[in-house]
């Protein structure tokens, strides 16, 4: 009965959409609102801002989950968050931070900055861009719905089988993980394809591949990694869904299934994922070091080579997550060597950054402070990485806090520091305002010191035998003091984040518009006006070398030389279909989680219908006249 009712409501909902709504004036009014404008926008800058804000939101959510865990671990035998609740917290902390915070923050920056850096007016597939965002948004929402309805996922962010099968994880928790990530993952793959084609096809005149800013280069390699790394996750989640929902036997060893299969599929995705989130971070750092040293990036070509090599090797190392599985000494050795090889291109990068600063005209705004803080932090993470890459030693570290300390050093010290650096650096281009340097300094120092206080002691926690993912520990075995230092550090990071939030609010409230080129920048994004007009460039610029805008400024020009005459500009129209598509999958996914096949099928059918709507939508965009052209016409 309930199902029938929901189906009727659903049917009416779609009837309303196809007939243009029961009340046309209401729809007309809705179309004029700001919310509709953002919901249907295909402008890469607006989509980037939405990605960025959603990423900040989930960064706070994941951070709260971490603080709850640190609170539980403050004293031995604490009973604040025990058992299943703690498992939910650690699972959702990992899942949220990787998929719903790091990835969208990166996609946000790529979306806003990359098309500007290559001198394009939009991405290659604006519709797909919007669809990618809304799929991510509803996938993330679906995964987090578990907190309210039936329990959050609790099998770890790696969701290993057998633990994640029905027998050991009853209830809908893991289903939220499986279907939520499936929907978000589809969006990620689309964005990867979109970014790659954009960079390859949409560069302005003179912007050859080896003249692109480093951030664009790392976005390119990251896109390639996304295209080849997301499908294994898709398949892993599909198989897990089949096992949990449809009684298949991929992972059930009684029926001949294999638990190691999940580990392989997950880590064939999981390890490149690490590079997906860290390569753009390297790109952000490269741009920042170069800008605030007033020097061309040292070893540009070797930087491109190192990035590509890291991307390639990233696919060759996944078994280092599985050294203790027992795959034998030969495969362990091969993967250990491949893992250690990655230190070479990464070392090239670190030395290039140091040599970029060497003899440069250094300035230290907050963005540069994050970048400089990143180098020693990331190097520490890299060194523990080499330690973990040795299989005999790894048997000792496996599943201990040493591993936790290692990956937080690379993921926070690498990705998060870079994203915060990028936020301070590109904020004026994203929002047309500046962030306060004074608050930014507080943010940096509190977060930086808090980070090291939290995670440096965790190396020793691990070496002293504290396992990860366990909600308590014994008193009087020498773990209390270190845990308390770690929790204290986490609180400092929390305060730093609150100051960052205050800084953002202050900047939104301020009326002062930022300068177009506040940092004396080198790449094309600084050659646009602030706020950036929706067509980006009235005339596409012509590029004459690496650091295109810097070259023009050195030659005494105030602006880029245009590559085309002033004329009408073609722009894509907004569309509400991506939003509908994502809602259809959201409803269908939730139907499957609730074990209601009818709603699941309805959702998928609705998705099919929206695909037809898209295919028969013959909107080819519109032409605009840029402000400059209108001014000129007004004069004549």
């Amino acid at each position: 009965m309930g199902t029938l009712l929901i189906m009727i409501v659903f049917g009416l909902f779609f009837a309303a959409i196809f007939t243009g709504g029961y009340n046309n004036t209401l729809i007309q009014r809705a179309r004029k609102t700001t919310a509709w404008d953002w919901l249907t926008s295909v402008d890469h800058k607006k989509i980037g801002v939405m990605y960025f804000m959603a990423g900040i939101f989930y960064f706070v959510v994941g951070g709260l989950e971490a603080l709850f865990m640190r609170y539980q671990l403050l004293v031995p035998g604490n009973d604040a968050f025990v058992g299943r609740t703690f498992n939910e917290l650690l699972t959702m902390h990992g899942t949220t931070m990787i998929f719903f915070a790091a990835m969208p923050l990166i996609f946000g920056l790529i979306n806003v900055v990359m098309p500007l850096q290559i001198g394009a007016r939009d991405v290659a597939f604006p519709f797909l861009n919007s669809l990618g965002f809304w799929l991510f948004f509803f996938g993330a929402l679906l995964t987090n719905m578990g907190w309210i309805f039936g329990g959050a996922p609790d099998a770890g962010w790696t969701s290993y089988v057998q633990l994640a099968l029905n027998e050991y994880s009853p209830g809908p928790g893991v289903d939220y993980y499986v279907l939520g990530l499936q929907i978000a993952g589809a969006g990620t793959t689309m964005s990867g394809i979109n970014f790659l084609v954009t960079i390859l096809n949409m560069r302005t005149k003179g912007m050859s591949l080896l003249r692109m800013p480093m951030f664009t280069w790392t976005s390119l390699i990251t896109s390639v990694l996304i295209i080849f790394a997301m499908p294994p996750l898709t398949i892993a989640l599909l198989l897990l869904m089949m096992d949990r929902l449809f009684g298949a036997n991929f992972f059930d060893h009684v029926m001949g299934g294999s638990a190691v299969l999940w580990e392989h599929l997950f880590w064939i995705f999981g390890h490149p994922e690490v590079y997906i989130v860290v390569l753009p971070a390297f790109g952000i750092m490269s741009d920042i070091f170069s800008t605030f040293s007033k020097k061309k990036l040292f070893g540009y070509n070797s930087m491109v080579f190192a990035t590509s090599l890291i991307g390639f090797l990233g696919f060759m190392v996944w078994v280092h997550h599985m050294f203790t599985v027992g795959l034998g000494p030969v495969s362990n050795s091969i993967f250990a060597i491949a893992t250690m090889l990655i230190a070479i291109p990464t070392g090239i990068k670190v030395f290039n950054w140091l040599f970029t600063m060497w003899g440069g005209e250094l300035t230290f705004p907050v963005a540069m402070k994050w970048a400089i803080g990143f180098i020693p932090t990331f190097v520490i993470g890299g060194m523990t990485g080499i330690m973990l890459a040795a299989p005999p030693a790894d048997f000792q570290y496996q599943d201990s806090y040493f591993v936790v300390a290692h990956f937080h050093y690379v993921l926070i010290g690498g990705t998060v520091f870079a994203l915060l650096a990028g936020a301070y650096y590109w904020w004026p281009k994203m929002f047309g305002k500046m962030l306060s340097e004074r608050l930014g300094n507080w943010h940096f120092w509190l977060f930086f010191i808090g980070f090291h206080l939290t995670f440096f002691p965790q190396h020793f926690l691990g070496l002293f035998g504290m396992p990860r993912r366990v909600f308590t520990y014994e008193p009087n075995v020498g773990l209390e003091y270190i845990n308390q230092v770690s929790t204290f550090g986490a609180i400092l990071m929390g305060i730093g984040t609150i100051i960052f939030a205050w800084n953002m609010i202050q900047s939104f409230r301020s009326k002062k518009i930022a300068a177009a080129d506040p940092w004396d920048g080198r790449s094309l994004e600084w050659a646009t006006q602030t706020p950036v007009p929706f067509y980006n460039f009235a005339q596409l610029p012509e590029v004459r070398g690496v650091d295109a805008f810097w070259l023009e400024k050195q030659a005494g020009n105030k602006e880029m030389t245009p590559a085309e005459p002033l004329g009408k500009i073609h722009m894509p129209s907004g569309s509400h279909i991506p939003f509908l598509m994502s809602i259809a999958l959201f409803v269908g996914g939730w139907g499957l989680i609730a074990r209601s096949w009818q709603i699941g099928v309805m959702g998928l059918l609705a998705f099919g219908v929206t695909m037809f709507m898209r295919s028969f939508d013959r909107d080819h965009g519109f032409y605009v006249k840029p402000k400059e052209l209108l001014d000129k016409e007004a004069k004549s």
Partner: protein, 204 residues
């Protein structure tokens, strides 16, 4: 630049004549790259689990070489007819193109009928999705391919309708071209299924 009017005449590659068309074709190649990895994972899963039959029938007991050979021939032939359709499209021969696309869709449908018949036959033999890890991985791989064929049939039929109504132009040509790329791709996947599932299964 993007919407320079393109002269529509035979021999002009309309699918890549516009900027949007170029993007679409390149993006679709990237998508096929992702699809390749997707199927590679399913193949890996199948090869890892194919001997886990748990007292049920094995591949050597089940597979009928004649039926599968006929299905293979049909699908490969449909690849050829979709090439004819693309050749007709380049000559702006709408009638010829729709004819060959129609043949492609019909061949795809008959492949699908054979596959459904095959699956029903297996289920009667006790080889189901739930019977063993072999069963799960077999249906996951072959079924995902079958789902791709089904999607392809619906997709190509839709674009046939659009080409019939709107003609062959810079709007429909990229769609027709990428759908034929997609069709070739699922044929290539089938060649691997034929080899790694059926031929390998029959020798044990």
């Amino acid at each position: 630049m993007a919407h320079d009017s393109v002269e529509i005449k035979p021999g002009v590659h309309l699918e890549t004549a516009t900027f949007e068309g170029k993007n679409k074709v390149m993006g679709f190649w990237m998508f096929l790259g992702a699809e390749t990895v997707l199927f590679a994972c399913l193949f890996g899963t199948y090869l890892a689990l194919r001997n886990q039959t748990v007292n049920g029938p094995s591949g050597a007991d089940l597979f009928d070489p004649v039926l599968v050979a006929v299905a293979t021939a049909i699908l490969l032939f449909s690849s050829l007819t979709s090439v004819f359709a693309m050749m007709a499209m380049n000559k702006l021969d709408k009638k010829g193109m729709l004819f060959w696309l129609g043949v492609t869709v019909l061949l795809g449908l008959s492949f699908l009928v054979l596959e459904i018949y095959e699956f029903i036959h297996y289920i009667h033999e006790g080889h189901t999705f739930m019977s063993s890890a072999f069963g799960s991985s077999f249906y996951a791989l072959v079924g995902t391919h079958g789902a791709h064929v089904t999607f392809g049939i619906i997709w190509i039929s839709t674009i046939m309708y659009q080409a019939w109504k709107w003609g062959i132009n810079t709007e429909t040509a990229p769609k027709l071209f990428v759908s034929s790329l997609y069709w070739h791709f699922i044929d290539v996947v089938w060649v691997f299924i034929f080899t790694l599932v059926y031929l390998l299964g029959m020798v044990g």
